[in-house]
Symmetry: C2
Subunit: 230 residues, 2 copies
């Protein structure tokens, strides 16, 4: 066993350590799925046959574990949306738009607790660390990209000047030649998308709307209209 040498030993350590990270996160996700949104470190440790303090070898605090879960969830959600959108013919703008929206909704309904971590109440003592901002922006960037391909400039009142300044700054930051009106409508749709998914995941529509998938699709279609998608 010693033939592969010291490098493999240290990398083996690292691999075991990274697997432990993964296993802790998976146990935490299972807890999150069964219990509510309040994650108990001790319960996670119990599920793994460990004692709570042992987890501190791998995550410096409960917040760090939450942060890791949040980043994973953002990545997962963004990937689900991107994959669904990529499966639609490029010239079918409305189809790509609706596919992305429905993918976000489906992921949220399948992972309500993780979704709550992302878009619910911010956890009390917890400030979102800067490394979450990039994975968090995947969905809006996807929507903006689709809106950017819209053939017509969106109808309806254009954004007022102070908002245009913000839009210009955002467009410059992404280095893209998006028009302000199109980004404006992409932001509108993005806000609405998560507003509606919030209501549905948090059971605010339960005894109000039965045909929730159709309701969702209909409204996302109206927002596609507003974004100028054909």
């Amino acid at each position: 066993m010693c033939d592969t040498g010291a490098v493999s030993a240290s990398s083996l350590r690292a691999r075991v350590r990274s697997e432990m990270h993964q296993e802790i996160k998976e146990a935490a996700r299972r807890r999150l799925a069964t219990e509510g949104a309040n994650l108990s470190l001790r319960a996670v440790a119990r599920d793994m046959g460990l004692v709570a303090s042992a987890l501190y070898r791998y995550f410096p605090s409960r917040d760090a574990l939450l942060t890791a879960l949040i980043i994973d969830a953002y990545d997962d959600l963004g990937e689900a949306a991107a994959e669904a959108e990529a499966a639609v013919a490029r010239d079918d703008l409305r189809g790509r738009w609706l596919a992305a929206c429905h993918a976000v909704r489906s992921w949220a309904l399948a992972h309500p607790a993780e979704y709550g971590l992302l878009y619910g109440n911010p956890v009390p003592g917890y400030a979102a660390p800067p490394e979450t901002v990039v994975p968090a922006s995947k969905v809006i960037l996807l929507l903006a990209a689709i809106a950017g391909e819209a053939p017509d400039v969106p109808a309806g009142s254009p954004p007022p000047e102070p908002v245009r300044a913000d839009l210009r700054r955002l467009i410059d930051d992404q280095g893209g030649g998006l028009s302000e009106e199109r980004l404006d409508r992409a932001l509108l749709a993005w806000t609405h998308l998560f507003g509606q998914v919030n209501f549905e995941v948090f059971h605010r529509l339960d005894d109000m709307v039965q045909a929730r998938a159709e309701y969702f699709g209909h409204h996302m279609g109206l927002l596609a209209d507003l974004a100028g998608l054909p």
Copy 2:
């Protein structure tokens, strides 16, 4: 009973008890404002110079106190929206609409923790009791009432049939002669309103949009267009 003696005595008891209820809720609101969303019963008791178990004379559990706070907050929010809307000339439909929306936003920004109780992550072991549903529906009813006065039927694609069935049921429940299209757009706007306020209160727009009031007003105006308001 006999005379004013017993009545006044028992009503004095009841009054003191109800004042105690109010004081506990106010102390809890103060805690909620300074600390995050996790309300500590013991801390509330400490602030009042009491011991935690004494609060159980007035609220059977922490959830019951939260429920009382939630109902108060729904009432407060609904009242703020209704008052702002009532201050606008009746024939200025768009003005009434925007006034209600801005009132919701202002209330939420002024009471972020209480807003989080209403529209954030549902508290883990906590199921919204049925007595919250009436105060919770005040804002959507207000928006629907304004949309119901719209002169034109809203433009754009009408809701598909399964959704129409839900809309019809909702309209019948409220006993009002609202058209399905108008309620559809009111629901759209309601969802968007709270989606946008969520994003703003939960700091999702912090380093994205500077002109947040204008951004909000612009988008609520677009939704007024969609609802057919002149």
